[in-house]
Amino acid sequence: MAEETAKQVVEAFQDQLIGVMKEGKALGFKGRYDRLDVAVKKSHDLPKIARIVVGKQWEELTPDQQTKLEAVFSELSVSAYAHNFKDFSGESFSFVSEEETGRGGVVVHTNLQIPGEKDVKFDYMMKKKDDSWQIINIIADGVSDLALKRSDYTSVLNREGFDALIAKIHEKIESYAKQ
């Protein structure tokens, strides 16, 4: 079986996302969460992303803390998707182009079309992990989610420490699930 290209990974994920949005109301938060849990974990390299968002501090965490961070970070990521993509009003993704980076990565450029609104550019930064392409970062209209998260997380780590970071992530997960 031929392995999936970076573009195919992105498109498969976007299809699943649109699918969940279309049934969003019927599924409810729990239903969307369960469907997206599979889709997100399959297409995103969440452990690597969790490592990058705490930057240099990753090395200073104990193995227990690292496992804990990976777990809550995954839960937060899926919750955010389930919360933000809850219904459908004609949105669609379209592929624009694909570009290789100097260090063996691929950037897949796509557009999110929303009826009656300006298109939103979604650029997916992909890296290869054991023969399959995985999403590492999403850049929406030039704003890098990874860079944003890294500043946000390292700030909390520096100012308030690891336990506060985990507590804050739990708070976010709970508030996403409520609405």
Binding site: V40, I49, R51, I52, G55, K56, W58, L76, S77, A80, Y81, H83, N84, F85, K86, S89, E91, E99, T101, G102, R103, G105, V107, I114, E117, K118, V120, K121, D123, M125, K127, I136, N137, I138, I139, A140, D141, G142, V143, S144, D145, L146, A147, L148, R150, S151, D152, Y153, T154, S155, V156, N158, R159, E160, L165, K168, I169, K172, S175, Y176
Partner: protein, 332 residues
Amino acid sequence: MYTLSYQGKSYASFYFALLCSGAFSLAGCATTEPVVKAAAPVVTPTDPYEGFNRSMYGFNVGLDKYVLKPVSDGYKTVTPGFMQTGVSNFFTNLKGINVVLNDMLQGKFEQGASDFGRFTTNSTIGLLGLFDVASEFGLQHNEEDFGQTLAVWGVDQGPYLVLPIMGPTTLRDGAAVVVDKAANPGTYVPGTGVLEGINDRARADGALNFIDEAALDPYVFTRESFLQYRTNLIKDGKTDADSLDLELEEGDVDVGEISDVKSKDSKVGDKLKKSSDGHVKNTVEPTISKPNATLQAFDSMSKSFDGAEREFEAVSLKMDEYSKKKRRWKRH
């Protein structure tokens, strides 16, 4: 993960909220950020006045919660949707002259022609800009201002600043606002600023809620998204794949850079100590004390803004008590 990849509707307003052009554009979000008094251990090179900025941010959050958001909510309740769009279009159109001006200053003549067509179309057929007919003709709105022009000309971003009421900006963008305001006809009509401010705040509502939902440290989240948003505007949306690649690897670069700067500083210090020449000391000392004086001034200013923030809360508590009393009184 990707909190940014949320529904498009609130998305548009998210970026709108990050514009510093409107008076109240980013006052803050609805929850009060716990004020952390301890100095941040890591200094971000782009944000040397973080202590001051955080105080100002806290002040803006308070102002937003108790003044701006209630006013904007009231406006949204009493104004029909189509009128809100009209008001919004009207103020965007007034910025059109400035957009054309900055297109020209940046050498984007083709875009300038399109933006000029857009401005004239909307000002005439679009009834003074109330209707955005140009978009339907395919003349898309472009976001240009003098801050971007300065960046294209090579002016550095300068330190990140949070101004009271005005919200996030940088030294470069803040200074450039003078030109943007001068090239906006609305500036010369007293009173329009207030309506524009209310309109801006109303449009930013979804975005502010989004920051509130997604950010662990709303101050940092706002700063980073603002700076990235501006950079993207300056580059006209062109992303550089290789720089994204580097971003992945540089997880710890930020910290490394700072320690480099520090070690350079200490080397300078060593040299001074070694030099026995009194003149050198004399000439150097004032330059060292200067930033301290600036920081002190910032510091005392932030204290007074912290005070104002507490006042907001005190007033709100009093209001609550008062309305409770009133209710009780009515019952009797």
